[in-house]
C-alpha cells in the first residue's frame, strides 16, 4: 500500500511540474500550448537515451531540460506571429509530429518497442528506498518551481507577463517588447515539461511512443482548468483533483464487475472530454481560482 501511494505521489508531482509549466505559458502569458506532451516526450527520450549511453543521471536530466527548452524555441518564435487559435493547432500538430518521428526513427529510439531497462533514479539506495528518495526530490523540485512561479508572478517581470496576456498592444505602446519574454516563457515551460519527462523515464524505467499521446496534454489542461488558471494554488490543486480521478477510476474498475481496462480507457477519455466542456461552460475560473470580474 505504501509503495502504491508513493508511486501515485510521484506521478502527481510529475503532472504538477507539467501543470506549473503550462501555468507559466497559459495562465500567465496566455500562450496556448496544446503540445505539452511533445516536450515531455523529448525530455523523457533525451534523458533515457543519454543514461543508456552511460551519462550520469544529473547530467542527463539537465540535458533533458535543455533539449526540451531548445525544441520550444522555433515554436516560440512562430508563436509571436500567430493568433492563439493558430498556435493551439500548431503546437498540437508539433506534438503529433514528434510522436510519429519517435515511432519511426528506430535507429535512435527503438521505435514502437520503446526503450526498456532505463536506469532507475536513486537505484543505489535499493528498490524501496529509491522511490522514497525520488518522491522527496520531486517534492523539493515542485516546491522550488511553485515558489519560483510565485516570486515571478509578484515581480515586475510577472506583471509584465500578465500584461502580455491581457493587452499586448497597450504594452508595446509603452515601449516594452513582449516578444523576447514570450519566447523565454515558452522555453521555460517546455524545459519544465522536459524535466518532468526525465523524472517519468527514470521512475517507470520503460518508455514507448504510445505513452506520449495528445491525451497527456489534455490531462494537464484539465488540471489547470479544474484548478483555475493563473494561480500556483490552482495548478497544484487541479493536479491533485486529476489524480484522484485517474486513480479513482482504477478502483472503480475493480469494484464494478465486467469493466475491462479497454472500457476504462474510453471512460477516462469521456470524463476528460466532459470536464473540458463543463468547466469552460460553467466554471471558467476553476475550482480554486478567483471569480473574474
Amino acid at each position: 500500500m505504501t509503495a502504491y501511494l508513493l508511486s501515485i505521489g510521484i506521478v502527481v508531482l510529475i503532472y504538477a511540474l507539467l501543470t506549473l509549466g503550462l501555468n507559466l505559458q497559459f495562465g500567465l502569458t496566455r500562450l496556448v500550448n496544446f503540445g505539452i506532451v511533445a516536450f515531455f516526450a523529448i525530455g523523457a527520450y533525451t534523458s533515457g537515451l543519454l543514461s543508456l549511453k552511460g551519462v550520469p543521471l544529473p547530467l542527463s536530466f539537465l540535458a533533458a531540460m535543455i533539449v526540451a527548452g531548445l525544441a520550444a524555441l522555433p515554436i516560440g518564435l512562430l508563436s509571436l506571429r500567430l493568433r492563439e487559435d493558430y498556435l493551439a493547432i500548431v503546437t498540437l500538430g508539433f506534438s503529433e509530429a514528434i510522436r510519429i518521428t519517435i515511432q519511426q526513427e528506430e535507429w535512435l529510439t527503438n521505435g514502437v518497442q520503446g526503450l526498456p531497462g532505463l536506469p532507475k533514479a536513486f537505484a543505489s539506495l535499493g528498490s524501496g528506498n529509491s522511490d522514497i528518495a525520488l518522491f522527496v526530490t520531486l517534492v523539493l523540485v515542485t516546491a522550488i518551481t511553485a515558489w519560483g512561479t510565485l516570486r515571478l508572478t509578484r515581480s515586475p517581470l510577472g506583471r509584465l507577463l500578465r500584461a502580455i496576456g491581457d493587452d499586448e498592444t497597450a504594452l508595446m505602446a509603452l515601449g516594452k517588447d513582449p516578444a523576447r519574454f514570450k519566447v523565454q516563457i515558452f522555453m521555460l515551460g517546455a524545459a519544465l515539461a522536459g524535466m518532468g519527462g526525465a523524472f517519468y523515464a527514470h521512475f517507470i524505467t520503460f518508455i514507448t511512443p504510445e505513452q506520449f499521446i495528445p491525451l497527456v496534454t489534455f490531462y494537464v489542461w484539465m488540471s489547470l482548468i479544474m484548478g483555475g488558471t493563473g494561480t500556483v494554488r490552482g495548478a497544484i490543486g487541479g493536479t491533485a483533483l486529476l489524480m484522484i480521478f485517474l486513480e479513482g477510476s482504477r478502483f472503480a474498475k475493480d469494484l464494478i464487475p465486467g469493466v475491462s481496462e479497454v472500457h476504462m480507457a474510453s471512460v477516462r477519455l469521456a470524463v476528460v472530454g466532459l470536464a473540458l466542456i463543463l468547466f469552460t461552460l460553467y466554471r471558467p475560473q476553476g475550482m480554486f481560482g478567483k471569480r473574474q470580474a
Binding site: Y86, E96, R268, G273
Partner: protein, 289 residues
C-alpha cells in the same frame, strides 16, 4: 512516371475528400471564429453511424450514409446550441477547449460501444482499371464524384441562395448583419447542420478509401486544418484548393518519406504556410481584433 501518376491521382481524390472537413472548419472559423477541433470526430461519428446502419440492415450504402449524415448534422447543431453558442462571448480558447473536449467525448463513446477494431464498409469488390500501369479504382471515382457533388451543393448554398448571402454577411460583420435585420440564430443552427453533414460525408468517404477506426477523423484534423490555413482562413475556395494541394504533396512524399510521415508533412506545410503567408493563398489580411 506511372507511379507518379498513380500517386497524383490518389492525392487528388484524397484531397477532394479532405476538402469537406476543411470546408466545414473554415465555415465555422469564418462565422464563429474558432477552429472546431471536433470536426474530425464528427467525421468518425458519421463513418460509424453509417457502418452501424449497414449492420442494422439498411441495404444501400448511400441510404445509410444519408441517414448517418442527418444524425451527425443534428448532433453538430445540438453541440452548437448547447455549448458553442454559450461560449461566444468567452475568449476563443474556451470554445477551442470545449471543442477538443467534445471530440474526446464523441470518440470515447464510439470506442466504448464499437470497440477499437478496424471496420470496413460493405462494398462490392471491384477490380481497378489499368491503363498501362495507371490504376484507377471505380470506388475512387465514385468517392471523388460524391465529394465534388457535396462541394458543388455547398458552393451553390453559399453563393446562390439568401442563406449563403446572410451567412457571409454575418461572417463579415455580425453587428452590421444584425442591424440589417438578419436573424443570426436560425442561420447559425443551419450552418452547424451543414457543417455536421459535410463532416459526416467526409468521414464516410475516407472510411471507404481506407478503414474505419475511432481515430479516423482525429488523424485528419491536422491535415484539414493545414488545408484551411493554406487556402486562407474563411475562404471556402481556398479550403478546397488547399486540401487538394496538401494531399497531393502528402502522396508524392510517400516514396521519399514513407506513409507514416504524411501527418508530419502536413504539420510542416502548416508551419511554413503560417510563416510565409499567414493569410493563406486565397485569404486577405485580417485585422487583429
Amino acid at each position: 512516371m506511372t507511379e507518379f501518376l498513380n500517386l497524383l491521382i490518389n492525392g487528388v481524390i484524397e484531397g477532394l475528400v479532405v476538402a469537406l472537413p476543411a470546408l466545414a472548419m473554415t465555415l465555422v472559423m469564418g462565422v464563429n471564429r474558432f477552429p472546431n477541433a471536433a470536426t474530425g470526430d464528427f467525421m468518425t461519428a458519421g463513418a460509424y453511424a453509417t457502418i452501424g446502419l449497414q449492420l442494422a440492415g439498411v441495404p444501400s450504402l448511400v441510404l445509410a450514409a444519408l441517414i448517418g449524415a442527418l444524425a451527425i448534422a443534428a448532433t453538430s447543431a445540438a453541440s452548437y446550441f448547447l455549448i458553442f453558442r454559450k461560449l461566444a462571448r468567452q475568449p476563443m480558447v474556451a470554445s477551442l477547449l470545449a471543442a477538443i473536449g467534445l471530440g474526446f467525448l464523441i470518440r470515447s463513446l464510439i470506442s466504448l460501444f464499437a470497440g477499437h477494431d478496424q471496420r470496413t464498409f460493405q462494398l462490392p469488390l471491384m477490380r481497378a482499371w489499368n491503363f498501362n500501369g495507371v490504376r484507377i479504382l471505380p470506388t475512387d471515382l465514385a468517392i471523388a464524384g460524391v465529394a465534388l457533388a457535396c462541394l458543388a451543393v455547398v458552393f451553390i448554398l453559399l453563393y446562390k441562395t439568401s442563406f449563403g448571402r446572410q451567412l457571409r454577411a454575418v461572417a463579415d460583420s455580425p453587428d452590421l448583419a444584425r442591424a440589417s435585420g438578419i436573424r443570426a440564430r436560425g442561420l447559425l443552427i443551419s450552418l452547424w447542420l451543414l457543417v455536421g453533414a459535410l463532416s459526416s460525408v467526409g468521414g464516410v468517404l475516407l472510411g471507404m478509401k481506407a478503414v474505419v477506426m475511432p481515430d479516423l477523423g482525429w488523424e485528419h484534423l491536422i491535415p484539414a486544418f493545414a488545408a484551411m490555413v493554406l487556402g486562407g482562413i474563411g475562404s471556402p475556395v481556398g479550403a478546397v484548393v488547399g486540401a487538394v494541394l496538401l494531399c497531393v504533396a502528402q502522396e508524392l512524399s510517400v516514396p521519399f518519406l514513407g506513409a507514416s510521415y504524411k501527418l508530419v508533412l502536413a504539420f510542416g506545410v502548416l508551419a511554413i504556410a503560417l510563416l510565409i503567408r499567414p493569410a493563406g493563398l486565397f485569404g486577405r489580411i485580417e485585422l487583429v481584433r
